[in-house]
Subunit: 337 residues, 2 copies
């Protein structure tokens, strides 16, 4: 059984994934990802994954057969286990709980070689719809406090499979970074009676030097204190605390348009970089607070300079966000981008 | 002039290093590190670096000539600038200050190809002595609040030069992670009237399952909530808040012995992994508080799984610290290790 352990000094939980660790993990032993024919995420290979929990497929096609355009399956090597009651206990001065949770894979396309870069906006929209549907379903389980949605694209960014996919982990805790943002937002709100994210969006709209792209509902900015070159945040222009609350069809289409535009621009400017993105959203019990504002953070993995950052929380960003904005704005996405 | 910018939501400063950014940084454009003959850190090439600010060398040898066993020079491409007054200002809701600081390189050996793995304990001790001497000197400058000392070994860990070296950055702020540890330590102290690190050391000594190595003055443990496989912390056994206060010769020899032992064991078990280490120490004005306890965190860079961690503050560690401890303990360092 995996285990969640709390750092005794700072407020951070870590999954200690005992089941994945039959032996130590060494870089050199990494296996190459399977090729198209043998890829468990490809259409035709549905039996290579656990049974699907969600799919976008024609009505006449049975589950776990080809025909789908998007599919969600449990992770074959889950970091957390769905079975059991959540037990918390102390071990001397330490705290731990058993690793209850869910870990799912969103297969974004049946085609090996397609990516969010190359998919059309409607297909990207489906990905966000799938995130929403799975989140709603998993939050029925009261053991779960937070649904963490993220994407690793490319081996450098942590993807172990080439086939375009994202992941979802349902957690019995709120991850540290989101928790800190909520606290920061709350402190600002107490002082100013306004949402800090809304204020940022207003200031960026007026300033203009860090706005990469916007449409009717979403804006993509290079954050003022960006940690990484070409780090981009996509935020709803109006105040919405939870990703779920942005979820009517029009909004998710606009979201897909904004995310897709940034990814295409990154792809062209930065030569198809590996990247991560993560959705930061209010936990279920704070879904409509006035002081938090959901968003997606997109981080191309361009530098290896990020060595000591984990140990210090200190970042050196060699590309000012204003410069990144200028470069990304100049990228033209006319035909075939 | 580089700039320090504060994240408007959470309490984190970032260096926006404008001078390093003549153009965007792309992974593919990285250059291979120079070979021995052309290496600016090698003995004989002293003129390729800025003039030394500290050296361990025979009395009869002039500065910036061969003969030294250790040398400290300003970084040729500093992330921060030493000249000027520290100015802080607001920009709408944002906060920034100019990038005042120092950035130095500790050249640990005159020999290309030597590493902390292969150097003898007395030579490793010299490295810690150099950290101490430079820290004392830089803290005379009242603009600096914190001296951050870290090592990147191997390209994957962020080293741009092969020649064994570590780095020091003098900062006008305390980096976030250290600040959080101080706050966590203070909260624990208020509640228990004891140092949380001292309590951890006592509990680990009694439990034993996460103690990798110890000598008379230092202990090396796998932390209970380790974020990374084979993450190791080296701590002084007695309560000491500041790295400087551990600095008599005997103590630094014991420190060098402990760090050297862990690095040698990592080297043998994990096949000379790239790694980072960082010194977490109390800032100058908290140098003798009862609630903080300095230590070194050593992190082999074994997995590429750390993709989304920056965005969520959430870690999945596939190697339980008890298992890492067992493996590392079993490594024998008898002759030639």
């Amino acid at each position: 059984m995996p285990e969640l352990r709390k750092d005794p000094i700072i407020d951070r939980w870590v999954i200690i994934s005992t089941e994945r660790a039959q032996r130590p993990v060494f870089l050199a032993e990494e296996e190459a990802p399977p090729k198209a024919g043998l890829c468990p995420l490809c259409a035709g290979n549905e039996t290579m994954t656990p049974p699907e929990v969600f799919a976008i497929r024609p009505d006449h096609t049975p589950p776990n057969t080809p025909g789908w355009t998007l599919r969600v399956v449990p992770n074959k090597f889950p970091a957390l286990r769905i079975e059991g009651a959540l037990n918390k206990e102390g071990v001397g001065l330490y705290d731990r709980m058993n690793g209850i949770g869910a870990h799912e894979v969103i297969v974004e396309t049946p085609l090996h070689g397609q990516t969010l870069y190359t998919m059309n906006v409607a297909s990207v929209q489906n990905v966000f719809v799938a995130y929403k549907e799975r989140t709603i379903d998993l939050l029925r389980d009261k053991r779960f406090k937070f649904i963490m949605i993220f994407k690793n694209h490319g081996a450098v960014a942590g993807a172990s499979l080439d086939h375009s996919h994202s992941q979802l982990i349902a957690l019995p805790i709120v991850p540290r970074r989101v928790f800190e943002e909520i606290n920061g937002g709350l402190a600002y709100y107490k002082y100013k009676d306004r949402c800090v994210f809304c204020d940022i969006i207003a200031q960026e709209a007026e300033d203009g030097s860090r706005v990469i792209y916007e449409n009717e509902a979403f804006v993509a900015i290079s954050p003022f204190a960006a940690r990484f070159p070409f780090e981009t945040w996509v935020l709803p222009k109006s105040h919405v605390a939870s990703f779920l609350a942005s979820g009517n069809d029009d909004n998710y289409y606009a979201l897909a348009d904004a995310v897709s535009t940034i990814l295409k621009k990154n792809n062209k400017l930065l030569n198809a970089p590996p990247y991560n993105y993560m959705i930061h959203t209010a936990p279920a019990d704070l879904a409509s607070v006035p002081y938090y504002h959901w968003h997606i953070e997109i981080i191309p993995r361009l530098t290896k300079m990020a060595g000591f950052e984990w140990g210090t929380g200190f970042y050196i960003n060699p590309t000012p966000p204003e410069l990144a904005t200028t470069f990304l704005r100049e990228v033209s996405l006319s035909e075939g981008a």
